[in-house]
């Protein structure tokens, strides 16, 4: 799921063309009082305008869907390489979306809530063998023991603690 930079130039051209078509339509409309032969061309231009609007909306909405997928894949903090491809309004959308999602998750069940971005796959085993792909520092598990996650070290850890780190690319599930 890659997100390319918002194609501003292409996009602006589109908006400018739309505006030009609209202006032509306005001019024609001004002349139409009484005469009806210009009406088909006005209607034609109007449908071009609507199509342009639909295309732009579809392109932007598709980007939003990809950004939404990023929240579910990477978590609340996006890598800088991805943020580079997003415009300010998209960052704003992303921030609002993660706020809404967090509020919703906290409200589940009436107490502390449930993080539904975890448990994405049915659990097969309790503990899994993982290899560390990059230095991540210290990591505490449920019974208090602290593990040092150094690059290339292998550990046998509870599955539910590792899910997030596996998705972020810090740990790798070793299937022997």
């Amino acid at each position: 799921m890659s997100l390319l930079t918002l194609r501003r130039n292409f996009f602006n051209v589109h908006v400018i063309t739309t505006t030009k078509i609209y202006r032509e339509n306005c001019l024609n409309e001004a002349k139409t009082e009484g005469k009806s032969e210009l009406i088909p061309s006005i209607k034609f231009r109007h449908s071009c305008l609507l199509r342009n609007q639909r295309c732009i909306a579809a392109y932007l909405y598709d980007r939003l869907l990809r950004i939404r997928a990023l929240r579910w894949e990477y978590g609340s903090v996006l890598p800088t390489t991805i943020r580079f491809h997003m415009c300010a309004e998209e960052m704003e959308w992303f921030n609002q979306y993660k706020k809404s999602l967090a509020t919703y998750m906290r409200s589940i069940g009436g107490e502390e809530g449930l993080d539904i971005t975890q448990d994405m796959k049915p659990p097969k085993s309790l503990y899994i063998e993982v290899r560390c792909l990059k230095d991540h520092g210290e990591f505490e598990i449920d019974d208090g023991t602290v593990i040092l996650l150094k690059k290339n070290s292998q550990h046998f850890l509870p599955r539910w603690k590792c899910e997030q780190l596996i998705r972020q690319g810090v740990l790798e599930h070793v299937i022997s």
Partner: protein
């Protein structure tokens, strides 16, 4: 774990409800049914907040029990797996709902706004708030990036028309739990006549969702 879980303990007491006691096994079975129905249905199913609350309570209960067990005991790992499995089913159920709410957000909001007071709700209050925020967020984004630069008569988009509705004619697999008679099956082509079928208990079918939607809601059939 033989304790029963009572629905009325959790209700706010706003409406008088008959006390329904379920064993944990029945609760989990109901959760799995709701999960499968939600997963395979093309539209958002009825809201089951009480079920979600009961399951969350059950999970907390099980976690507490687990803390008290001696570490290294074999029972602990079995219970742990059980907790993980239930949590997975619950998360998957809520994720399916959220995905459908996001996909069909204008229609879902419209349906909720236009329902009568006595009808069952499709969205929990939290889901409703989420859907409203999603709509507002998306509209603000589209307006600021594109629409405000467009000519005056194109500055708004009708979300109800722009976002596609769920396809109720998609086919679903189902298992019959209660015998049904005289189910009207609509013709797919003009040459076929409408015909009625009887659904026998325990039989499995592949049918158009629209035909059996009310049966799924009432629990007479189970989507698989």
């Amino acid at each position: 774990m033989a304790d029963g879980v009572s629905d009325s303990d959790l209700s706010g007491g706003e409406e008088s409800r008959e006390e329904v006691t379920m064993t944990p096994a029945e609760l989990i079975a109901r959760l799995e049914q709701a999960w499968l129905n939600e997963k395979f249905s093309p539209e958002l199913m009825e809201n089951k907040s009480e079920l979600v609350e009961c399951v969350m309570e059950q999970l907390t209960h099980m976690e507490e029990n687990l803390q008290r067990v001696r570490k290294g005991d074999v029972k602990a790992s079995v219970h742990r797996m059980e907790i993980d499995r239930i949590r997975f089913v619950l998360s998957s159920y809520l994720r399916s709902r959220l995905q459908k709410i996001e996909r069909f957000f204008p229609h879902v909001l419209e349906k909720e706004k236009s329902r009568a007071d006595g009808d069952p709700s499709f969205l929990s209050p939290e889901e409703f708030a989420f859907a409203k925020e999603f709509l507002a967020n998306t509209e603000v984004y589209l307006r600021n990036v594109a629409l405000k630069h467009m000519p005056p008569n194109l500055q708004s988009i009708d979300m109800l028309k722009a976002v596609p509705e769920p396809c109720l004619d998609s086919f679903v697999f189902l298992r019959v739990k209660e015998r049904q008679e005289n189910i009207l099956v609509e013709p797919e082509t003009d040459e076929q006549r409408e015909y009625v079928v009887d659904l026998d208990k325990g039989s499995q079918h592949l049918m158009r969702y629209r035909t059996i939607a009310p049966l799924v809601a009432s629990g007479a059939v189970q989507l698989i």
